[in-house]
């Protein structure tokens, strides 16, 4: 299966980070909730985003109690679930996105759906579908060992987080554990659009850089091209979620609105 799509899986993500580093640019990774605007048309949105310059994707499996998400992604999760999105349909979507775009796909979810499915079964299923990695929003370093081990067993990456509040010593421990990649939480708070692009995490990202080779993606609170460009100066990858989800929620049939936004964000990230 992997031989058909040589860029898929964790290797694809590693290659994407490596070539971006070599070229001195960052990887642009838009987020969209699985099942939007509908179960059937979700994959088209990812294909359109790929054409508009996305380098990799975050596919959000909607959860009923999304603790790390602000109003936009909460709304998206609720709608997607109402429209029938489930874990198994979400994994089907990952498979389609991976095969149709040939880009690395990262699955974003919460702890409980993973536990419910069984950690190993979950990691195995998303790996088989062609995912490159997994982000679990409510999984801190302390609880991550069984998840990291299962991910590694299926040769996909698990992200660990660093937040603006993370003390230096803790950043060192997290980086030293050699995660697949680090998700730098760019802003205090949950996902959402912010007027001011903060720099709350810059020093911590520089610290990670100085002590390890682990790729760093920045997300949370990044919604405009200016903010994305700032983040791209610092990180290996930039995630934009709410700004993209909002367009799909507000203009569900307007593919052009989506591609326009994605192109300008991609251009900003690529510099």
């Amino acid at each position: 299966m992997f031989s058909r799509w040589p860029h898929l899986g964790f290797n694809g993500l590693k290659e994407a980070f490596a070539s971006a580093r070599a070229e001195g640019r960052a990887v642009f990774m838009p987020f969209l909730t699985a099942g939007l605007p509908s179960i059937e048309t979700s994959v088209d949105r990812f294909v359109a985003m790929a054409a508009a310059g996305a380098d990799a994707f975050e596919v959000g499996i909607p959860y009923a109690d999304p603790l790390m998400d602000g109003p936009t992604i909460q709304k998206a999760s609720e709608l997607a679930r109402e429209r029938g999105m489930t874990m198994s349909l979400g994994i089907d979507l990952v498979r389609s996105v991976a095969s149709e775009t040939d880009k690395p796909v990262i699955v974003m979810t919460y702890v409980n759906p993973v536990l419910s499915m069984g950690i190993d079964h979950f990691m195995g299923s998303v790996a088989t579908a062609g995912a490159a990695g997994v982000i679990i929003a409510d999984l801190p370093f302390e609880e991550s060992a069984p998840f990291s081990a299962a991910a590694a067993g299926h040769d996909i990456g698990l992200a660990l987080f660093v937040a603006p509040t993370t003390p230096e010593q803790r950043v060192r421990e997290i980086a030293a554990s050699n995660p697949a990649f680090i998700y730098g939480v760019a802003e205090m708070g949950v996902t959402g659009e912010r007027a001011d692009a903060g720099h709350h995490i810059d020093a911590l990202i520089r610290l990670v850089r100085s002590i390890s080779q682990v790729p760093i993606v920045l997300g949370v609170g990044i919604s405009t091209p200016d903010q994305a460009a700032e983040a791209a100066k610092l990180a290996d990858g930039v995630i934009v979620g709410s700004a993209i989800v909002r367009i799909v929620l507000e203009q569900p049939d307007d593919l052009e609105a989506l591609t326009t936004t994605v192109s300008s964000l991609a251009a900003a990230v690529h510099g």
Binding site: Q74, S116, M117, D138, E142, A163, T165, T166, M188, G189
Partner: protein
């Protein structure tokens, strides 16, 4: 105690832990060490107990409910947590948290509330200790607990309506945690039950265990046969059970049976849920086959919650406490019954525990039973009146 739990990872056996977003982790680690130090500091503990005595009105009495006892053929004692200032056990916890916030130099607290009792207790502690306070409350609960909303506002607290999900306690907790993620540097989260990521279940247990400790000393040499408490998140039950856990006394926790345990409309996380992670902690919870948290239902806002404290999950699996249920209808009957026969209007939450005792009277015959009467029912009168009881 034969066991000293939680362990360093905040685990009670397989339950508990700390499944929180990284942004909160440093605050949780700080809270853990600040609490440990404060709870070992005589001055802190002394101030906590002084406020409980002079301001809250502890110790709360034990009252022998003779009229009910006669009817039931059981010797029924009520631990009168309803007589605490603000009308429920919740204030035992908020005084402690308020003192912790001050110790950490955090000028602001947030809290969630279901029935409004924890919100009122938080607002009260904030007023007393000079802290700014914001309380998150589901829109459905704002409607059924209007009196408590006004009380909080009178006390100088801002009540933030939460419309996500079913607009009940689960949603209020989630929104409070979201708010905490962006304000954690200046704000302490005053959680209202033995739930949430470690160290919250530990801290709330320690601030509520005064109930069980008092009960033991008030009863002298005598020991009850059975102690019964309602279980929402589980704080009043934990407070009374924890000091008795090795005593041989039979301990019964009563969850919300809602419209019946054969339906999906209940709050019986321990009786009918399965282990999972809710609000930062591994515990029994109501969820579907895909691990999506399910909405709970109870006539009482304080029991309308799809999870429960992790230490209760541990007690259940170890067989240290038995967990039962009482339905909305049974609780309403018990609410009216205690009001008429003893002149005590109970909280609808507490009425669930009484309902179980009433149903089980035959098997309890001749025994001494303590009911932890967690709160008074003034807050529920309007809701019950509207139901035409």
């Amino acid at each position: 105690m034969t066991v000293s739990l939680p362990d360093r990872r905040g685990r009670y056996g397989e339950f508990g832990g700390r499944f929180a977003p990284e942004t909160l982790m440093p605050a949780l680690l700080e809270l853990e060490s600040v609490f440990e130090e404060a709870w070992g500091d005589e001055a802190f503990v002394g101030e906590y107990h002084r406020i409980l005595a002079d301001f809250v009105g502890r110790p709360t009495p034990i009252y022998e409910a003779s009229n009910l006892s006669k009817e039931l053929g059981v010797r029924l004692l009520l631990k009168r947590e309803d007589l605490n200032h603000t009308g429920a056990h919740k204030i035992n916890n908020t005084i402690g948290h308020g003192l912790l916030a001050k110790r950490m130099g955090k000028p602001r607290i947030i809290a969630e509330t279901g029935a409004g009792q924890h919100g009122v207790a938080s607002a009260t502690a904030a007023a007393l200790l000079g802290l700014e306070c914001e309380v998150f409350m589901g829109v459905k609960d704002i409607e059924r607990q209007a009196l408590n909303v006004y009380r909080m506002e009178l006390l100088g607290t801002r009540v933030v309506p939460v419309s996500s999900g079913a607009g009940t306690l689960k949603d209020a907790v989630s929104e409070a945690m979201r708010s905490w993620v962006s304000t954690v540097n200046t704000t302490h989260y005053m959680i209202g039950s033995v739930v949430g990521p470690h160290p919250f279940p530990l801290i709330v247990r320690e601030f509520q265990k005064v109930i069980g400790e008092e009960l033991l000393s008030q009863m002298g040499e005598e020991r009850p046969d059975v102690v019964v408490a309602c279980v929402g998140g589980g704080s009043n039950a934990m407070g009374v059970f924890y000091p008795l856990i090795d005593s041989g006394i039979e301990l019964i926790g009563v969850e919300a049976g809602g419209l019946g345990t054969e339906t999906l409309a209940h709050g019986a996380s321990l009786s009918l849920g399965r282990p999972g992670v809710l609000h930062g902690s591994m515990t029994y919870m109501l969820q579907d086959e895909e691990g999506q948290v399910r909405e709970a239902h109870s006539i009482s806002a304080g029991l309308d919650y799809p999870g429960v404290g992790p230490e209760h999950a541990y007690f259940k699996d170890k067989g240290l406490v038995r967990y039962e249920t009482a339905t909305d209808a049974e609780a309403l009957d018990a609410f009216a019954w205690l009001s008429r026969k003893e002149g005590i209007i109970p909280a609808l939450e507490s009425a669930h525990a009484l309902a179980w005792i009433r149903r089980e009277a035959a098997s309890l015959a001749g025994k001494t039973v303590v009911l932890n009467l967690s709160g008074r029912g003034d807050k529920d009168v309007q809701q019950v009146a509207a139901l035409g009881v």
